[in-house]
């Protein structure tokens, strides 16, 4: 007779770890299966950690979690070919503990989180790929792995297996991803001395800066670039909708290379030693692309459930929150002596609807579509904005009133008056 668990969690990223930790801590018998050499070795993220979601799971995580820098300044750059218009928000309020968010290195962070999961009592097996879900009629009763005698049973299987979720697809729980619903992001990490990072970004004592960018760097595609400061390294990357990469026949690593060569970005990377290149899909389809989230004996959490708020660059916090709420639902169902049927697990969806997760995703449900249909937000406007700044700031004997008229003319020439009003309306609708 094969061993049976209360719950099996597939994957040891933020959502899987949050779920396994919460379940194990309540005393349930939990098995977690990870295909990597160690938790984190298959996982890719920018990466920003939002403290709140983790604090609700491990309140004292700051005592020993591997955190890179706490963020005190956010820059937002809108780039043209050789310039950018930007805003910086820097606050000493963000420089007082407890800090609100941090840069992290996922290979280290996930390993740490997994240590907490194991301390809480979950059994972790690494270097093991789950190949199939074991079914009894319509009900999921366990998993099959690529290990010998690899069938394992449980009351519930939580799929935390990431954006590609091979398992959910094979089982028919969700369709293949649509290239219009996922972004492909590529990034590199560049190492340099800690003092160089601090002087280059005007920070000290573990504080850090993030830069979010859009405009010409995505070469007309819908997407964004980013640059994050770690302790003694900088992460730089760019992500665009996969449908755009496909339509434009654009090579992702060339796109990254050209972005790194931008005159405003290159000096920030100067002298760094590149030590890793990663690629990852980000499920950005939002509310409308969300699959069924639970069924007979199964639940989906994190990226596999498309839980990403693309507008606010939030993902790992949604992953941890969905993992925790899924686990809490299972704990309640089992404590009541009930079975993990779809009906009993439906509380998961109800709880999500009540949380910031669904409220935020619902709020921005129209946004992916609007940006898809209106590429001018990534092409014309960054250019117009930069040229307007250039016109206004260049001192050349032309009076400012004439300059203003000239700027107005470039805007109406590019987008027409109705076009401008329409775009303003669309943006208002999208963010409303």
């Amino acid at each position: 007779m094969a061993e049976k668990f209360d719950a099996i969690v597939v994957g040891a990223g933020p959502s899987g770890n949050a779920a396994a930790y919460t379940l194990a801590k309540s005393g349930l018998k939990v098995l977690q299966i990870e295909r990597g050499e160690y938790p984190g070795s298959k996982n890719v993220q920018g990466a920003i950690l939002y403290a709140d979601a983790l604090e609700r799971i491990i309140p004292d995580f700051r005592d020993d979690a591997p955190l890179e820098r706490h963020i005190i300044e956010q820059r937002m750059w809108v780039l043209d070919d050789d310039s950018f218009v930007g805003t910086h928000y820097r606050s000493d309020g963000f420089n007082k503990p407890p800090y609100n968010r941090y840069t992290i290195i996922r290979a280290q962070f996930d390993k740490w989180f997994s240590g907490k999961v194991q301390q809480a009592g979950a059994l972790l097996i690494c270097e093991t790929t789950v190949t199939d879900l074991l079914m009894d009629g319509p009900r999921v009763v366990g998993v099959r792995t690529d290990r010998e005698g690899g069938s394992i049973y449980a009351d519930v299987v939580i799929l935390a297996d990431g954006v590609n979720s091979v398992l959910a697809r094979k089982a028919g729980f969700r369709p293949e991803l649509d290239p219009g619903d996922v972004a492909l992001a590529v990034k590199e990490i560049h190492f340099m001395p800690e003092e160089v990072v601090e002087s280059r970004f005007n920070v000290a004592d573990g504080a850090g800066v993030v830069i979010e960018m859009f405009g010409k760097i995505t070469q007309g595609m819908m997407g964004t670039g980013f640059l994050y400061t770690n302790k003694d390294s900088i992460t730089v990357g760019v992500g665009c909708m996969l449908s755009d990469f496909k339509a434009q026949q654009c090579s992702p690593y060339k796109l990254l290379e050209e972005m790194k060569a931008h005159p405003s970005i290159r000096p920030l990377l100067e002298g760094g030693e590149m030590k890793e290149y990663c690629a990852h899909l980000i499920p950005e389809g939002g509310y409308k692309a969300m699959p069924q989230l639970y069924g007979e004996g199964w639940m989906i959490v994190g990226d596999s459930g498309m839980f990403v708020n693309a507008v606010h660059r939030e993902g790992s916090n949604l992953a941890m929150t969905t993992g925790r709420i899924a686990a809490e639902t299972v704990i309640e169902v089992l404590a009541a002596g009930k079975a993990c049927t779809a009906g009993n697990l439906s509380r998961y969806r109800a709880k999500l609807d009540d949380s910031f997760v669904m409220k935020d995703l619902k709020k921005y449900r129209e946004l992916p579509g609007i940006f898809h249909r209106n590429p001018q937000f990534f092409t014309d406007y960054p250019e117009l904005l930069n040229r307007a700044a250039h016109t206004m700031l260049k001192v050349d004997g032309i009076d400012k009133k004439t300059k203003e008229r000239e700027i107005r003319r470039t805007f109406t020439r590019k987008r027409s008056l109705f076009g401008l009003m329409g775009d303003a309306f669309k943006l208002w609708r999208a963010f409303e």
Binding site: R35, G36, K42, N43, K246, Y253, K254
Partner: protein
């Protein structure tokens, strides 16, 4: 702008444990790539450059440098000609930083 870069130079920085002789991705029907697919977008969009167009229209796939992102499978919308699984446990890309 001169930004010619060989993808091999980037991948060289990464750590892999290659499952020799057991690629985790396969082209289902090579004839479909060679004769029915005009765009052959996998040769451009794969961030690890695993797919190359051969002179005769065929596509060569070498998965050793694969970053396991899923792009090739997701963009093959017209023909669904990519059989895509995760590598066996412990094999494939092993991110040092992620």
């Amino acid at each position: 702008m001169s930004t010619a870069i060989k993808i091999e130079e980037k991948l060289f920085q990464n750590r892999y444990r290659v499952d020799a002789g057991r690629p985790h991705i396969a082209i289902k029907d090579p004839d479909v790539c060679a004769h029915q697919c005009k765009s052959q977008q996998c040769t451009v969009c794969c961030p690890a450059g695993c797919y190359t167009a051969e002179g005769n229209g065929a596509i060569a796939l070498i998965t050793d440098g694969c970053l396991e992102c899923g792009t090739c499978r997701v963009i093959c919308t017209e023909h669904r000609n990519v059989a895509w699984e995760y590598p066996r446990g412990g094999y494939g890309i092993l991110f040092k930083f992620g």
